[in-house]
């Protein structure tokens, strides 16, 4: 059973606007969450992370929000740029530091 879910397979956004990518998880024991970005023919690249003791982490244009009670996190990209077009994976970590990935959301930023 998928413990980390990304229910939107794709998202299209105009350049300069905000991109919001969503992720839900089912295991309440997850305590660390990460977002990875993947370009075609490359491996996933770490983007940003958040500990379960926080509800927000910001790094430049990227902000991750965590709602523990809802078991939901989101990635905000603002402003979106064409170079942000990629597949974004949400991942959650258990006590053993194993990562569980979602199925990914393909973001397309339209110039």
């Amino acid at each position: 059973d998928q413990q980390v879910k990304q229910n939107s397979p794709s998202l299209s956004v105009q350049e300069g606007r905000i991109s919001i990518l969503n992720c839900d998880y089912t295991n309440s024991m997850f305590d660390y969450f990460l977002w990875y970005k993947k370009y075609p023919a490359e491996g996933p690249t770490f983007l940003i992370s958040i500990s379960s003791i926080k509800d927000k982490n910001e790094d430049g244009r990227f902000t991750v929000f965590l709602n523990k009670s809802a078991k939901h996190l989101s990635l905000h990209i603002v402003p979106s740029q064409p170079g942000d077009s990629a597949v974004y994976f949400c991942a959650a970590s258990d006590w053993a530091n194993n990562l569980f990935f979602g199925t990914g959301t393909r973001l397309t930023v339209i110039p």
């Binding site: 023919a41 491996g43 992370s49 500990s51 979602g102 990914g104």
Partner: protein
């Protein structure tokens, strides 16, 4: 600094043939992971090494898959014999073995080996 290096990038074989993938992690990273990524899915962990020791291989199909990490650096993942369902991208990742949770969690991935079994 060089990233995680994997080879080959692509491999096409017929079913029942053996195949092997090689991974060189980032220098100084003690933890090494092998993942399998099926089409349209996220990566799924196959095996994790702490130095030379396989600390989690619960998801590795041991009847046909094997892995080794000699000297705690490079690693090889082998499938023998390959089946049609093994077609996927095989990703290697590495991370620091630090005391900081964040450092330990950030895994750096190679570009992967795309395997096609015909």
């Amino acid at each position: 600094e060089a990233g995680v290096v994997q080879s080959p990038r692509y491999k096409i074989i017929e079913k029942k043939q053996p195949v092997a993938f090689w991974c060189n992690p980032i220098s100084g990273h003690n933890t090494l992971y092998w993942y399998r990524q099926n089409l349209g899915q996220g990566p799924e962990l196959l095996i994790r090494y702490e130095n030379e020791e396989a600390v989690d291989d619960s998801q590795l199909p041991k009847d046909r898959f094997s892995a080794e990490r000699l000297k705690g650096v490079d690693s090889t993942l082998k499938i023998q014999p390959a089946e049609l369902g093994d077609s996927a991208v095989y990703l290697c990742a590495s991370s620091l073995d630090g005391t900081q949770r964040e450092a330990k969690n950030i895994q750096y991935f190679g570009a992967g080996t795309r395997l096609s079994v015909l």
